[in-house]
């Protein structure tokens, strides 16, 4: 399931809905992405005031649906969920939730990891950071491209 929304989400409620009535699920791996202040907890004056996520709605829905379908084709998942927020978010706010439910835990770990890597490189979102110095668009990271590329090169782990 795909949800692109401005509102915050409740992880417990989302996981409960994902697993509801399906007792074939042995484990759910989830990733919650948070707005980092980029300075660390010890700094009294965080550099980041907020970040605004812009996206391309029609394409976002399509691409998130595509990568979710790919994960479901590649791993035997019982259920999956991607929630991605847009709009203005302050440090500590939840940005994204990806959850994968499977009979066996490694399938849930690998598919959730895969979804995050692809989401980072394929989903049309852009982050505008507000700091004391002004506003700036976040640059993409080469490490994210490398993380996504490893799913093309590497064969799947043997099934348990």
């Amino acid at each position: 399931m795909i949800k692109v929304q401005q509102e915050d989400f409740d992880v417990s409620a989302e996981l409960a809905a994902l697993a509801a009535g399906n007792h074939g699920i042995g484990g759910i791996v989830s990733f919650v992405g948070l707005v980092r202040d980029l300075v660390g907890p010890d700094n009294a004056e965080p550099a980041l005031r907020a970040m605004t996520l812009e996206h391309y709605p029609a394409m976002t829905e399509k691409k998130l649906g595509d990568i979710e379908a790919q994960a479901n084709a590649r791993w035997p998942l019982e259920a999956s969920l991607i929630i991605h927020r847009y709009g203005r978010l302050e440090p500590g706010a939840q940005i994204v939730l990806v959850a994968c439910a499977a009979a066996h835990r490694q399938d849930a770990f690998d598919s959730c990891n895969f979804l995050m890597d692809w989401l980072k490189t394929e989903a049309p979102f852009w982050k505008l950071e507000e700091t004391e110095a002004g506003e700036d668009w976040v640059d993409s990271r080469a490490s994210d491209d490398a993380a996504a590329a490893r799913w093309q090169a590497k064969p799947d782990r043997a099934a348990e």
């Binding site: 812009e54 394409m59 980072k120 989903a123 049309p124 505008l128 976040v138 640059d139």
Partner: protein, 83 residues
């Protein structure tokens, strides 16, 4: 055709979307980038480094030699930074 711009490309060009008929000599994304670059200084600044711009046609990523049709929705944007 409909053209959308996002993030700093939208800011530099100064519009989020525009619609016009595909000019006769514009058949690929490459051609379209050349055409837009000539439209004004905001466009020229936005497309100054075309190698960093990604293009999507009808919500799919496409290479710059992709052939266009007049019904397409084309989007240009910087590398994505979601998640």
């Amino acid at each position: 055709m409909k053209i959308l711009y996002f993030a700093w490309l939208r800011q530099r060009i100064g519009v989020a979307a525009e619609e016009f008929d595909l000019p006769a000599d514009v058949t690929t994304i490459d051609d379209l980038v050349g055409y837009l670059t000539a439209k004004g200084p905001g466009y020229a600044k936005g497309f100054a480094e075309p190698q960093v711009i990604r293009a999507a046609v009808n919500y799919e990523y496409v290479p710059f030699d992709h052939k266009l049709s007049n019904n397409d929705e084309v989007a240009f944007f910087p590398p994505v930074t979601g998640g």
